[in-house]
Symmetry: C2
Subunit: 465 residues, 2 copies
C-alpha cells in the first residue's frame, strides 16, 4: 500500500511551522488575545487555521494523559475497580479520546444521554448547542456495579487486561435498552446489527464520566498509520492550504459514480470561489455488519482507485474514521457529519438513504430514502456545515461510463445496486466497463474469492468481521 501511504500516512515529524499540540491554533482564546499586527508569524498561522471550521464547543478535545503523568496514572489505576471493554467500547474510547465527539470528554452521563435521545443535541454551559445524535455510552452489569461500589473512578482495560483509560467522576444510571433502541433507530424490530452486537446482551446500567486515556488506541492490523486523528487531519488540511474541506463518508467500495460525484463537487466548489478544496475520503473503520466488505479489503480497493487516477491524490486525503456503525439512518448521518466538522470539514456530501439498511423483518428499507438528507439539513448544531446533496449517478449505456442520471433519457441508464455489485464480484463476473476501475474491481473479486464457501458450496453473504 506504498502509494496510498504517501498520500495520507501520518507525517513522522510535524512541519516546523506547526507545534506538536495541534489544537492550540484553533483555540478561540488565542485568536482574541494575540495582537496580530505585531506577530506576523502568528498571524500567518491563524490565517491558515481560520480557513478550517471551528470544532464543536470551540476547542478540539484530546484526552490523552501527559507523558510525565503516565506512571502516576498507571499506579492509580492499579488500585481502581476494573471494567473490561468490548471491541466496540474500545472503538468509542478511540472516538472520544481524539475529539471526534468534541466537546464530549467521556462516556455520556444521564443528562447527555437524555438530550441525545430526545433532542439529538447537547446544550453547552454557554447556552450554545452542538449536535449529538447517537448515544456514546458504556454499559456495565449488576456485578460490575457492585464491584465499583462507592468508587468515583474506574480503570478501563482491554480484553487482555491492558490498561486503556481511567474514567473519573463517574455516574451510574439505568440502561433503558428498549427506549434507547426505539429512539435511536425508530424501530425495536429484532435483528438490528448494532443492537444485537452491543446492546441486547449488554449490562442494565450505563456508566458515564470523564476519560483520561493512557495511550492512543491502536489496532495493530497494519492500518493504524491510516487512522489520522481530527487534530492530525486538521494539520494535514492546513499543510495543504485547504480553504474548503469536503467529506465523503463511506463503508463500501468506491465506484466511478462516487468518483464522478467527488470530482464534480470539487468543480462546484472551485466555481463557488474556493481556491483549493480538499476531499476527505473517509471510510468508516469501526464495527460494521457481517455482510459489509471488511475495512482491510475496502482500503485495498480505495488504494487502487487512487493508483488508477480515478481520484486526484493531490487534492484527496484518505483516512479511516474510527467510529462503529449504527445503521441508524437519519439519526446516525448527523453523527457522521458532526464528527467531520471536528476533523475540519465544512462541506458534507450526503446521499440517498445514508446509514440506512433493509428493515430487519419487513420487506422494505428501514428508512425513507430522503429522510437522512432532510433531517441532516435541519439538525440542531449543524447550521455551520454546508450540506451537499448527492446527485444520483448511474451507468450511462450510451456513453459506456458512470454519469449523472438524466431523467429525460432514463432508458440509457443502468442502476447497479450494492447487492448487484456484490453478486457480480462473488461470481467473478465483470460489471459494465467504466463502472469501476479494473484494479479496484479485482480487489473485490479477490475478497469474495478469499471467503471460505459454506457447506452448501455457496459463498456466504454474511462474513464475520
Amino acid at each position: 500500500m506504498a502509494s496510498m501511504a504517501t498520500l495520507f500516512v501520518k507525517t513522522p515529524s510535524p512541519s516546523p511551522s506547526f507545534p506538536k499540540t495541534f489544537n492550540t491554533h484553533f483555540s478561540p482564546a488565542l485568536k482574541l488575545s494575540i495582537p496580530l499586527a505585531s506577530k506576523p508569524r502568528t498571524r500567518q498561522r491563524l490565517r491558515i487555521s481560520n480557513a478550517l471550521i471551528e470544532p464543536d464547543g470551540g476547542k478540539l478535545v484530546e484526552l490523552f494523559v501527559e507523558e510525565s503523568k503516565k506512571g502516576e496514572k498507571k499506579r492509580e489505576a492499579a488500585s481502581l475497580p476494573r471494567i473490561k471493554l468490548s471491541r466496540i467500547d474500545l472503538q468509542w474510547v478511540h472516538v472520544i479520546s481524539e475529539g471526534w465527539s468534541s466537546p464530549l470528554r467521556g462516556f455520556m452521563r444521564e443528562s447527555e444521554f437524555l438530550q441525545t435521545l430526545h433532542f439529538n443535541s447537547l446544550r453547552l454551559e454557554d447556552g450554545s448547542v452542538v449536535n449529538m445524535s447517537v448515544p456514546i455510552v458504556l454499559a456495565i452489569d449488576d456485578a460490575q456495579k457492585r464491584l465499583i461500589g462507592e468508587s468515583t473512578r474506574v480503570a478501563l482495560v482491554d480484553s487482555d487486561n491492558n490498561l486503556i483509560a481511567i474514567l473519573k467522576d463517574i455516574e451510574i444510571y439505568k440502561h433503558h435498552k428498549e427506549e434507547r433502541i426505539a429512539r435511536t433507530w425508530g424501530t425495536t424490530a429484532p435483528g438490528l446489527p448494532y443492537v444485537d452486537q452491543a446492546i441486547t446482551n449488554a449490562g442494565n446500567w450505563l456508566i458515564g464520566g470523564d476519560l483520561e486515556v493512557i495511550e492512543p488506541i491502536k489496532y495493530h492490523d497494519g492500518l493504524d498509520r491510516f487512522r489520522l486523528s481530527p487534530a492530525e487531519l486538521r494539520e494535514e488540511f492546513t499543510r495543504r492550504n485547504a480553504d474548503a474541506v469536503f467529506a465523503f463518508q463511506l463503508r463500501n467500495p468506491v465506484h466511478n459514480g462516487h468518483a464522478l460525484l467527488m470530482t464534480d463537487t470539487r468543480r462546484r466548489l472551485l466555481e463557488m470561489g474556493y481556491k483549493n478544496p480538499i476531499l476527505l475520503l473517509h471510510p468508516l473503520g469501526g464495527y460494521t455488519k457481517a455482510d459489509d466488505v471488511p475495512l482491510s479489503w475496502r482500503m485495498k480497493q480505495h488504494e487502487k482507485v487512487l493508483e488508477d487516477g480515478v481520484l486526484d491524490p493531490e487534492t484527496t486525503v484518505v483516512s479511516i474514521f474510527p467510529s462503529p456503525m449504527h445503521y441508524a439512518g437519519p439519526t446516525e448521518v448527523q453523527w457522521h457529519a458532526k464528527a467531520r466538522i471536528n476533523a475540519g470539514a465544512n462541506f458534507y456530501i450526503v446521499g440517498r438513504d445514508p446509514a440506512g439498511m433493509g428493515h430487519p423483518i419487513e420487506k422494505r428499507d428501514l428508512y425513507d430514502a430522503d429522510h437522512g438528507k432532510k433531517v441532516l439539513s435541519m439538525a440542531p448544531g449543524l447550521e455551520r456545515l454546508n450540506i451537499l446533496p448527492f446527485k444520483v449517478a448511474a451507468y450511462d449505456k450510451s456513453q459506456g461510463k458512470m454519469a449523472f442520471f438524466d431523467p429525460s433519457r432514463s432508458h440509457d441508464f443502468l442502476f447497479i445496486s450494492g447487492t448487484k455489485m456484490r453478486t457480480l464480484a462473488r461470481n467473478k463476473e465483470n460489471p459494465p466497463e467504466g463502472f469501476m476501475c479494473p484494479n479496484g474491481w479485482k480487489v473485490l473479486v479477490d475478497y469474495y474469492d478469499s471467503l471460505v464457501p459454506a457447506d452448501n458450496g455457496k459463498v456466504p453473504e454474511a462474513v464475520p468481521v
Copy 2:
C-alpha cells in the same frame, strides 16, 4: 356548576380596556413602534401584557376565518375534496386553531414532522427554536389521497359532514407509523392507548397544510364555556393583574396533596417577590384512556374542591386544555408545558413520571419516573419557562392530613396511589380523613357508582370515554 362558572366561565363581553383581538397587545412589532410616553393608555396595556410570557414565535396564532369571509369560504369548501375528521383529529384542529401549538398554523408538513420526531423542536425562519415534541398530524388513506388528486386544498368535515375548516397549500407524505411510534413513545409495544386509538388503523399518508377554521370548535357537552382559548386565558390573567402564572396540568381528581403543592407554590412565588401569582388549574380535556376518570366527572370533582375552599378561587383559574393525551411521558410533558406558555404561563409544575403509564406488556412503568422532569428542564425552546419540580406529598398519619414527605420520619407517611384511590372509591370506602375534601370524594364514589357492573358483578376498570 354555578359556583365554578363564576371563576372561569368566559366573560360575555370583554372589559372595555381590552380589544376583541386578544393577541394584538402581544405583538412585538407593536412594542417597538409605539411611542410609549405620548400614549399613557397604550402604555398601561403594554405594561400589563408584558407581565405575561410571550407566545412561541412572538405572536399567538389564531386561525379562524373572519366573519365577513365565512360565506365565501363555505362556498369554496363545497367544491373541494372532503376529508372526514375523527374525534381526535377534531381535537387537534381545536388545539391548532386557538394557538396552543403556536407558531404552528396547521397540521404538520413533513419538515415539521421530522423535526418533531428527531429534535422535539422546530427551527423558525429567523433561526430561533420553539419546542414541539408530539407530532400534530392528520392521516389519510390511499382512497382519500386519490380523491384529493392534484388539489392544493381540501375541506375538513366532522362525522356529520359539517364543514370545520379548509386545509390549504397541502403536502402529502408517507405515514411511517412504526418510526413515529418508536420515536414518540420510546417503545413499539402493542397496547399504547393513543396508538391503538389513532395510529394503528389510520391511513398510510399524512397531509399537512395551513388551516382556515370556519367556527371555533365546540363539543356541546355542557363544558364548552369552560374551554378558554390561550387568548381568553391571557385576557383573564391580565384582568386579574397576574404578574406570574403557574400552570398545573392534570387528568386526575384533585386530592389535598395536589392542593398543598399548589398552595405552597403560590407561597414560594410570593416569597420570590411576585405580587399576584395566579394558578392555572388546567385539566386535560381531549382523548384519555378508558380507565381514566372522564372529563365531566373530573370537572365536577374540581368544582367541589373549589367550593370547599381547598383552593382559593381568587387566585385560581380552572379551565380545560383541549389536547388529546398521548401518554408519552418525557416527550409529551414538553408539549404540555409548551402549550401553557402560549396560554400565558411562565411557571410549570412538573411531578413524578408526568404523562406516564404502565408499560403495556411488561410489569413496570413505561418511563423512568425522573426522566420527565429532567428532559423538560433541558428541552430546546423551553428555556424561558420556569420549571417547578413537584415535591412529594403523602398522607401524614401523625398530623392526619396530606403533607410534604419527610424522609426522616418515613414511617409516619402513607402513600395512596391512583390505583388505591380508585379501588377505595369503587368500593365506596373512605380514604383517611384529610386525603380529599369530602364533597370531592363523593363525586368519585358517585362516578364509580354510575358505572354499569360487568356480568361478573365487578365494576370494570376500563370505561369507554
